[in-house]
Amino acid sequence: MSGPAPALAILAKDLRLELRRVESLATMAVFAGLVILIFAFVGDPTPADLARIGPGALWASILFAGALGFERWFAEEERNAALHGLLLAPVDREILFLGKWAGATLFLLGLEALLVPAAATLFRLDLGGAWGSFAILLPVVTVGYAALGTFFAAVASRTTASQLLLPVLLFPLSVPLLLAGIEGGQALAAGQGGEFWDWLGLAVAFDVLFGTVCTVAFGTVIEE
């Protein structure tokens, strides 16, 4: 096993590429915002509904923005076959995956830092003291989603219709995370602590399981 150093190298490179154009993070935020608005339109919620649709709209926007992001962060590697450069390096596939995964997670978290307040105000979400618990749920769900997303971005990149296929493969498998996010949030809003912990537990289990599976499977997917 080559140590974690290369993973850090990849992470640093990805950060550099993205921060070089902060626009792209901003754009994703705007996109996510638009998704939220569209949900607001569609549900056209009465003030009563607002709180009910709120968490869902938030998570849906993260779901969509994420899918776009994963595709993009992986496409970065496809141009000039840079990916082959990585495969050529004396680095285990697992480490490569960890690098990309970490990057994706960070970006999603950065995105959420912008989205959550926005959604909270738009939908009058008020978790009161429960924000703390929400601050646990958020990263847990995000990590799992980033793992699946990175993995399926790799899968999709092996096809002729990556940006089309990625969401089609990713979304159905992410349903547990999506539900954990939505329902967990609503449980907090409704002050049902117990339920919240159930959902959190589900999400954690999901992370552990698919975190490992994706890391292991990445190698078989990526090589030609």
Binding site: P176, L179, V221, E224
Partner: protein, 261 residues
């Protein structure tokens, strides 16, 4: 799998060859047997088994609905197994098996959805409700639809088999989790949706149970027949392709190493 002793590999490669040829030989028998039991099943369903007193005729869909649902599950388990074997043995046959099983599973899932919706119309007065099991089934349908699309979009020169296998495994592992989460989604907080699906198939009168089992077995036979048939088609297609390329090259006066399996 480097730790695997060479001899095992050879054993396997011969074994799956044998298995394959055996299946091809029995294929027609299975086919006719399936047709027979299918006819018999319909006989039972329409003339023998008594009408269910609450629902009346619509309930007869039950005998198609449930077996197809269970077989859908079965075939996806099949995909899982074949995928694992493929990643392990790297023998084309398992790849083909996985793919064909997925196709058939998708077919049966569709059948479940359709029969279910047809059943729901008279019973719930609507084709669809966002009930837990319905939703799971729909998601299942999406997952394996995606799996098949992935294979369809293979980039030239890339071995989709491996990729699809990984997806097949992950997908299968996810199904129970999805089911659980969806059930929670529907049951953890009050919801007005009809929950009929959650009374288990227990408490059935003997006659219904018998009919169900007969129907189940005939569906299974159909499943097996389809599977072998498709695998045979795929294999043959692949061999033809190989032949074509070889012929094409020999035409151009170039000798080729390696011969048709």
């Amino acid at each position: 799998m480097n730790w695997l002793p060479r001899s095992w590999r050879q054993l396997w490669s011969t074994l799956d060859g044998r298995l394959y040829h055996f299946l091809i030989d029995v294929r027609p028998w299975i086919g006719w047997f399936a047709v027979g039991t299918m006819v018999f099943t319909f006989g039972l369903v329409f003339w023998w088994v008594p009408l269910e007193d609450v629902q009346g005729y619509p309930q007869k869909i039950f005998y198609i609905h449930v077996p197809s649902a269970w077989l859908a599950y079965a075939s996806f388990a099949f995909v899982f197994a074949a995928s694992v074997l493929y990643l392990w043995q790297r023998s084309r046959l398992w790849d083909i098996f996985a793919r064909c099983a997925a196709e058939i599973g998708f077919l049966f899932t569709t059948l479940t959805l359709v029969t279910g919706m047809l059943w729901g119309r008279p019973i719930w007065g609507a084709f669809w409700t966002w009930d837990a099991r319905l939703t799971t089934t729909l998601i299942l349908w999406f997952i394996y639809g995606g799996y098949l699309l992935l294979r369809a979009f293979a980039r030239p020169g890339v071995d989709v088999g491996r990729i699809a296998a990984a997806v097949g495994i992950i997908g299968f592992l996810d199904v129970p989790i999805i089911h659980m989460s969806v059930v929670w989604w529907r049951t953890l907080h009050p919801t007005p949706v009809v929950m009929i699906m959650d009374d288990p198939g227990g408490g059935l009168p003997a006659s219904m149970l018998v009919t169900l089992l007969v129907s189940l077995s005939s569906f299974t036979l159909v499943f097996v027949y389809f599977l072998i048939q498709r695998v045979w088609q795929e294999r043959t297609a692949e061999n033809l392709e190989l032949l074509e390329t070889i012929l094409d090259r020999t035409e151009r006066g170039v000798k080729v190493k390696g011969e048709v399996p």
